[in-house]
């Protein structure tokens, strides 16, 4: 038991590792903000493309969502970071992560948006159009708010997945939370920093997960 506590819950080591992990968490947070914001915006455009009446807009975006939902994000990440340099394209680890996860999660967000946009009755578009609002105005003021409300739990669920996904960045030595914790683990020969990192993720994600349940219940009611 003592060995277990010493190996996983060593407070002295946790305290020592804390500043490093905090820096890692900050990096994770920056990654999350960049990837989530870009994913939310990119996903919306992809979803609109998916629903376009024009075939030359619709087809490429459907291929896009299919391909990037099928490709494992880790494969995508390593390809961008380690594969592209062979074509003379070098990007920083941060940029590689943002690009890889943007491609991946905008496809998932797009699917969620698409479901939401379809769920809004056609009459809403027609009512908005009949009052002289443009397509864009109708979308922004009338349809999108309802669409987002209808799929809010799914948007949040997807966001939780995105946050978890950022830990993959440790594979290409981006010093985010998991990478920092693993560094501390290898220096201290102790697993406590990893436990601490897990707690960080929990603190970050637990409120989000709660929120998903809350909205799911509210929508079910």
């Amino acid at each position: 038991m003592d060995i277990f506590l010493d190996q996983f819950f060593n407070l002295a080591i946790m305290q020592k590792a804390f500043p490093l992990l905090l820096k890692g968490a900050w990096m994770t947070l920056q990654l999350c903000v960049a990837v989530i914001l870009l994913g939310l915006v990119g996903g919306l455009f992809v979803a609109l493309g998916n629903l376009s009446p024009r075939r030359w807009v619709r087809w490429p975006t459907i291929v896009y969502t299919d391909v990037f939902r099928a490709l494992p994000p880790l494969v995508l990440l390593i390809f961008i970071y380690s594969g592209l340099p062979f074509a003379g394209i070098k990007v920083s680890p941060f940029t590689a992560v943002v690009i890889a996860f943007l491609l991946n999660n905008s496809s998932y967000y797009a699917e969620v948006y698409r479901a939401g946009l379809i769920s809004v009755a056609k009459g809403q578009w027609e009512a908005a159009a009949s009052t002289g609002l443009s397509r864009t105005q109708s979308l922004i003021h009338v349809v999108l708010p309802q669409a987002v409300r209808n799929v809010l739990p799914d948007l949040l669920s997807n966001t939780v997945e995105v946050v978890k996904l950022t830990s993959l960045a440790s594979v290409i030595s981006l010093s985010e939370l998991l990478y920092s914790a693993d560094m501390a683990r290898s220096v201290t020969y102790n697993a406590s920093p990893l436990v601490l990192a897990a707690l960080f993720y929990l603190v970050l994600l637990w409120p989000l997960v709660r929120l998903v349940s809350h909205f799911q219940r509210r929508l079910a009611a």
Partner: protein, 247 residues
């Protein structure tokens, strides 16, 4: 009525694939006139109405609004045209995520670019007119069907349209709520609004319409004053329809 035509439908055709929904429709609605369209379901009357603001795109023909052909043009021409043509739907289609007041001010703000103060004032005037000023802060879900439809009318009126189109405005309402909507429409007519109404409210047509148009199978079979159409219809199809609905 010798007034100038406010809305003119000329040689209107609408086809969906091999199906011809509307065949060579010609119809004029004079300024201040209320034209009432009746006919069996599937006769094309709603499609014709929806062609008037191009929610349904005509296959061919012209729609002339206050002397201007609204066919062709850019998407912003289309939006400007729609500001001048108010539309009321069978299903109300209020925006459920906005208060009644915001429902009535949205297009005023975004399409007409009115200031908030101006739009709010205009919205309250219109809500007053349909008897719902006290519901300005309510949400559509808190209103009865009849109240929702009156808000929808206020929403359209707030844009100062030249013509109002009504697509079966009372068909989705419980019978006891129909009267309140018809009363608002009658009041509109009295104030000189040009109206094209598709509906099954025959008693209302008899009382309020200047002209009644009977459609069947995508064509206008017969038109005349309410007395002519309801009193002594000429076409067999009109007679058959009227005996069915009054039967």
């Amino acid at each position: 009525m010798a007034n100038r035509p406010m809305l003119e439908i000329a040689a209107l055709e609408k086809r969906f694939g091999a199906n011809t929904i509307l065949k060579q429709i010609d119809l004029k609605v004079a300024e201040g006139e209320l034209v009432f369209v009746i006919g069996p379901s599937g006769s094309g009357k709603s499609t014709m109405l929806r062609c008037c603001n191009r929610l349904e795109e005509p296959t061919s023909g012209d729609i002339i609004l206050d002397g201007r052909n609204i066919m062709g043009g850019t998407s912003s021409d289309l939006a400007r045209m729609r500001l001048q043509v108010g539309m009321v739907f069978q299903g109300f289609h209020l925006y459920p995520h906005m208060s009644v007041l915001k429902n009535v001010t949205l297009a005023q703000r975004k399409a007409l670019k009115r200031s908030k103060v101006e739009a709010d004032a205009r919205a309250m005037d219109m809500l007053e007119r349909v008897g719902l000023a006290h519901k300005a802060d309510a949400y559509p879900a808190e209103l009865s069907g009849g109240q929702q439809q009156r808000v929808a009318i206020a929403r359209a009126l707030a844009l100062d349209p030249k013509v109002m189109l009504f697509d079966e405005p009372t068909s989705a309402l419980d019978p006891e709520l129909v009267g309140s909507v018809l009363k608002v429409m009658k009041d509109l007519k009295a104030k000189g609004m040009t109206m094209l109404v598709v509906s099954h409210e025959m008693a209302f047509a008899r009382e309020t319409a200047d002209r009644v148009v009977f459609m069947d199978g995508g064509v206008i079979v017969e038109e005349g004053t309410p007395d002519e159409i309801f009193g002594s219809p000429k076409a067999d199809r009109t007679r058959a329809f009227l005996s069915r609905v009054s039967g």
